[in-house]
Symmetry: C2
Subunit: 319 residues, 2 copies
């Protein structure tokens, strides 16, 4: 069996390996050009999902082997959930909610921080030439931001708040900015808020009394409990909150305002790839300002240190 | 100024008083026939809402004074939220979400555990003769259960779970049973589950592995963190959860399954009185089995002790 370079997490720590077995056959084999470090990857190193294996789920690569000959040599990105194919969810096309699913780099399936990965052919999307590798890595997280548009009916004039200014918040802002004209982002980092300001989005550091219960829709994109608390302050009675990332702590979460103000909270995870690819290919959305640095796999420790620093946006890994 | 009998909570303890000032004029004056003890009243005695004054918000009474002469002598129940009348919420008819509102027996407005209470005329609903006093006390909590029908689109064949078997769960079950034929109630008390079984509702003590992610809609009606945890186990990916009561504790609330399974959680509070009155008057819904005992105001300590006992349904107070 062929061997490859990969980052491996054993549940305790991550190591760079050069002798990792190539992914098993039966699926498309993809040579990874570039992979992105996501907040979830950092959480995984802290024990999230009790994952062991190769992390990484944001990637672009080239198909090297496939039963579909048309795919070979094509540049692709991939949907990360692989369903069982026979359960009720899978039959409805909701493989991403299959209870028996594997998830690339997150759940019982080796991920993208490696020279090669494998995925079923149906998970792959060919990337047009207009999208370069650096941009293509953003398809997966951008799709997650597009999920909001699948879940709720956005109105142009809605008063929208985004809580957070990090990677996820930036992508959410880019997507909502396509349909809505009244967006305020509550963040902490001047450099990140500056990027949003350039899009015509209002930015604020800290909530003022006037902001309380002012917004029809609030997207929580910090994953912190203080972010959730602020979200509950900002949302109007009967408003809609999108919970875009899992909260790191279970302590001190007050759901009382949710009941009293009859707020609807919508959990939101992975999303549709097609609109994300279309938005990047057409230039409707640009992610070029969101990349901080690219590291080799070998330099993963520097890469993760950098990714964890406040103020950092996207860090890429090149196998 | 006239004096009346009332229960008064000073923020520390509740006392029976015979020298309480009658409610101020300018609103309809209602002589209370009967009032109900709700979970919220018990929470208020534990410090909820930092309320001080006369508690009680479920009542039926007779109008004694009013600027609307047609109302005088009429038997009424009353909506408990009194808005400012001029804010954005009030203008939309959502007085119950007015940020400056008072709430009968809950927020800056003396309540129903007294001989008299006052409310604006527009808050009152005349009760038809088919509904006796014991039944009429249930209009307010039954309206809160009807709120679910206002908030989501119930389907006849939906697989529905109710978590809890107490007062609130019973009323929710009665309402959902009007439109849905596939309801399972997860409770703890045999006597309460028996009432639901008589309605044709499936009942279970404890969740079995088979129940996980089985339900399209789950109503949390326990107000306990374990109830919330069970709710998150029962709900299908992309399902809808109704949060019908505030959780007593902020500790150990895990919202992760909400994001991963893209669950929508809808906070639900007070509801529309008209369908509740109609359901009681027409006999579509019967609450006669839900009353345990009636106590005089003087015997409030016995009444609250009884209401707190596991297995108890509704306890009424007669001024």
């Amino acid at each position: 069996m062929k061997k490859m370079k990969a980052l491996h997490f054993d549940g305790q720590k991550m190591t760079f390996r050069t002798d990792y077995n190539n992914p098993k056959s039966g699926e498309a084999l993809v040579e990874v050009n570039l992979a992105g470090i996501c907040g979830t990857d950092i959480e995984i190193l802290n024990g999230y999902m009790s994952y062991q294996g190769i992390p990484g789920h944001e990637f672009v690569g080239v198909v090297k082997e496939s039963q579909n000959k048309d795919l070979i040599g094509k540049r692709v990105v991939g949907e990360i959930n692989v369903g069982c194919g026979i359960c009720e969810s899978c039959k409805k096309g909701l493989e991403r909610h299959c209870p028996y699913r594997t998830v690339l780099g997150i759940l019982r399936r080796d991920g993208a921080f490696a020279q090669f990965l494998s995925l079923p052919e149906k998970n792959l999307h060919v990337i047009p030439d207009q999208i370069n590798d650096e941009q293509a890595v953003f398809v997966e997280p951008l799709a997650a931001a597009f999920e909001i548009k699948e879940q709720i009916n956005l109105k142009k004039e809605s008063n929208i708040a985004i809580v957070g200014d990090g990677r996820l918040a930036q992508l959410v802002a880019l997507v909502l900015n396509l349909s809505c004209q009244n967006i305020t982002c509550f963040g902490r980092h001047k450099n990140k808020l500056e990027l949003l300001k350039n899009l015509g989005i209002k930015t604020k550091i800290g909530i003022e009394p006037d902001d309380n219960q002012k917004f029809d829709l609030v997207v929580e994109a910090t994953g912190s409990n203080s972010g959730f608390e602020n979200t509950m302050k900002l949302i109007k009675p009967r408003g809609i909150v999108i919970l875009k990332s899992t909260l790191a702590s279970k302590k001190n979460i007050d759901l009382t305002p949710m009941v009293i103000n009859e707020v609807t909270v919508v959990g939101s995870r992975c999303g549709p790839f097609r609109p994300a690819i279309h938005a990047l290919a057409s230039g409707m959305i640009s992610v070029d300002n969101l990349i901080d640095s690219t590291y080799s796999l070998e330099k993963f420790q520097d890469a993760f240190e950098h990714a964890k620093k406040p103020g950092t946006l996207k860090i890429l890994l090149k196998p």
